[in-house]
């Protein structure tokens, strides 16, 4: 499974892990991971440890999540970015919208 998600035990934080290429083919699976009626997390963590590439539609999907999670009030961090992924996020200056580590 390229995308898996896990809710913290207190229900406050949703971690979505992405394996392999993060591109348009994951569009629906990525949405399904957070658009769930049964949860209302306050923070989102996107774990990119297993992600070796992301394209501009992946950036678009991150913006959709941000919008869903409250826009400017959204708390979303992108963690475990490898240098290639970090570079792509850097070029797009997504650090202004997401916490990247």
């Amino acid at each position: 499974m390229a995308i898996s998600s896990q809710l913290s035990s207190d229900g406050q934080e949703l971690t979505i892990s992405i394996q392999g290429r993060f591109d348009f083919s994951l569009h629906q699976a990525f949405r399904d991971a957070y658009e769930r009626a049964d949860i209302r997390p306050r923070r989102y963590v996107i774990d990119l440890e297993g992600t070796n590439y992301l394209d501009s539609s992946a950036l678009g999907m991150l913006l959709l999540l941000r919008d869903y999670a409250g826009g400017d009030d959204a708390l979303i961090s992108l963690i475990n970015c490898n240098p290639d992924v970090r570079k792509i996020l850097g070029i797009s200056n997504f650090g202004q919208l997401f916490q990247i580590s």
């Binding site: 590439y53 501009s56 919008d67 070029i91 797009s92």
Partner: protein, 561 residues
């Protein structure tokens, strides 16, 4: 079950076997055609187009092998299963059946149960093949439809986003014909004073969604560039427009650059595209780094339109590329990447070969050519080597107002955020006699305005611009001082008078600054040819009479027609 009812051709030279087979097949509800030899079978096939054939291998006149070959040929792409009826048992003979196009065998003597089962199995295969063909044709039709839609869309788009001045002698560019539907966009235009604006954009995604935002973006770009709006204003408008019309998650990575041939400067804003480069004549290069989020992501109030300014000498080139180059991927999922690109730059000896060398390097890396790359290179040239851009204006054939005057005063708060030049140009171009010299008029207005604002109101020292480091400091300081400007004004005085031959515009630009030693500065400017000092000689060259009064706080220039 009408849909299961087949027309089955039985070719068998023994009347008894023919009868037996016909009975079995007919009892299953199929319609039966019979032939006594291969030739009859071929003729019947041509006439009746049965869906399945039971073919005896050995028959007089024409044997089953030849008949099967001909029937298969006539059937073309459609699958007409041929089941050979044979008492042959040597493997060689069975192989011959298959080679002739047979799909299966049935050994004599006939077993009813097996025959019926084989007919059913073949029917499944036949239907599968028919479905595949049907879907293939459907896909082909859809694809053709899509391509023709794209052609129409492209034709409309080309009218709106015409190639602008991409054919100017100092521009080289490369763009695939599918660029629009890859979301790539390349635009170039002159502003009224002959500065060149270039936009390289890359929308998220592919296909129609990627192309759809290109049109409004192109309209804003061409419209505002032609009216003399500044880069920050164009950027703001483009961002606001895309933010308004595009769904969340769709945006445009873009670099907007303006090259001023008069001031010998390059101004760049990069939001989300890979580094562009300012390639210096001496072989050094300056990266033009993405410092902003792409267009269409941020709300207007959060958008940052700050640009970087670089001195640009003749022989220097601006180079921009889309991410297609860096993200070209080889069979091992490695990306071409920045290091390989820089190696191509380093190895380059003839500037005009650079594009080809990049393409070759990418092709060698991937093992095949890549067709979705966009690149553009803009060279610095001497003013006058470029055909100046006509200022767009619909000529109504009327003279326009010929006897009027007006004065405007723009105070600190307005100066901070408002660019009065497009507005003033629009007003002055109501006068028909001035339309032919819109470019010169705009250049002079722009020059006198920036002098008044930068040296007069904000007291910036133009001698800072002597070298490259001071140059960037100058523009940094300009930005900082402007952002917190509290006092001061710039006034424009316009006086238009007509006479028998034509008319004249008397233009005055006045500022709240301390003025300057006119005689000394003008004399100095004659000698200087650094990054500064171009402005005043330009004004003198473009306008009829120009002079400075009131200790340098009021500049006057005239235009005649």
């Amino acid at each position: 079950m009408a849909s299961d009812r087949l027309v089955v051709l039985i070719a068998e030279d023994s009347p008894a076997d023919r009868m037996l087979l016909s009975t079995i097949v007919a009892r299953e509800g199929h319609r039966v055609l019979t032939a006594a030899n291969g030739l009859e079978a071929v003729a019947l096939f041509e006439q009746e187009r049965p869906q399945l054939v039971l073919m005896d291998a050995l028959m007089p006149v024409m044997d089953g092998f030849e008949a099967a070959r001909r029937i298969k040929q006539m059937a073309g792409e459609a699958l007409v299963p041929v089941i050979f009826l044979t008492s042959l048992t040597e493997s060689e003979a069975l192989v011959r059946c298959l080679e002739a196009g047979g799909d299966d065998f049935l050994a004599k003597p006939y077993n009813r149960v097996i025959l019926v089962a084989k007919i059913k199995a073949m029917e499944r295969l036949r239907r599968l093949q028919a479905t595949v063909l049907e879907q293939r044709d459907l896909i082909a039709r859809h694809n053709e439809h899509l391509l023709s839609e794209q052609r129409v869309a492209k034709a409309v788009f080309d009218k709106v986003a015409h190639s602008g001045c991409l054919d100017a002698p100092n521009i080289r560019y490369l763009q695939s014909p599918h660029a629009l539907f890859n979301g790539d966009l390349l635009l170039a235009a002159y502003n009224p004073s002959g500065d060149m604006y270039v936009l390289l954009g890359d929308f998220t995604g592919h296909g129609l969604p990627a192309a759809i935002g290109a049109m409004p973006l192109a309209e804003v770009f061409y419209g505002m560039a032609a009216k003399g709006h500044s880069m920050p204003e164009i950027l703001r408008e483009m961002n606001a427009k895309l933010k308004r019309i595009l769904p969340v998650g769709v945006f445009c990575c873009a670099t907007l650059a303006s090259v001023s041939f008069q001031r010998r400067t390059l101004k760049v804003w990069n939001g989300g595209l890979p580094d562009g480069y300012l390639l210096r004549a001496d072989g050094s290069r300056e990266p033009l780094v993405s410092r902003h989020l792409p267009l269409g992501v941020l709300d207007a109030e959060d958008f940052d339109e700050r640009c970087e300014v670089f001195p640009m000498a003749p022989g220097d080139r601006l180079f921009l590329l889309s991410d297609g180059v860096l993200e070209a991927e080889n069979a091992d999922h490695q990306l071409f990447g920045e290091q390989r690109l820089l190696a191509v730059f380093d190895a380059n000896r003839q500037p005009q070969r650079l594009f080809d060398e990049i393409l070759t390097a990418v092709e060698r890396f991937r093992g095949r050519a890549q067709d979705d790359l966009s690149m553009i290179e803009v060279g610095m040239m001497d003013v006058g080597m470029l055909s100046s851009a006509p200022v767009p204006f619909v000529d109504t054939g009327q003279q326009g107002p010929l006897d009027w005057s007006a004065s405007f005063e723009f105070r600190a708060e307005s100066l901070r955020s408002f660019n009065p030049l497009p507005f003033l140009l629009q007003l002055l171009l109501e006068v028909r006699g001035l339309r032919g010299q819109g470019g010169a008029l705009y250049s002079v207005l722009a020059e006198l305005y920036s002098n008044a604002l930068e040296h007069g109101v904000m007291e910036l020292d133009s001698s800072l611009k002597r070298d490259a480091a001071g140059f960037s400091r100058y523009y940094r300081e300009r930005g900082e001082r402007l952002a917190c400007l509290e006092h001061g004004f710039v006034r424009f005085h316009l006086q238009v008078r007509g006479d028998q031959q034509g008319g004249r515009l008397e233009l005055g630009v006045e500022d709240s600054g301390k003025g300057f030693d006119v005689a000394r500065v003008l004399a100095e400017q004659e000698r200087l040819d650094g990054f500064c000092g171009r402005g005043l000689s330009l004004v003198r060259a473009l306008s009829k009479r120009c002079a400075w009064e009131r200790g340098g706080t009021l500049a006057r220039a005239e235009f005649h027609w």
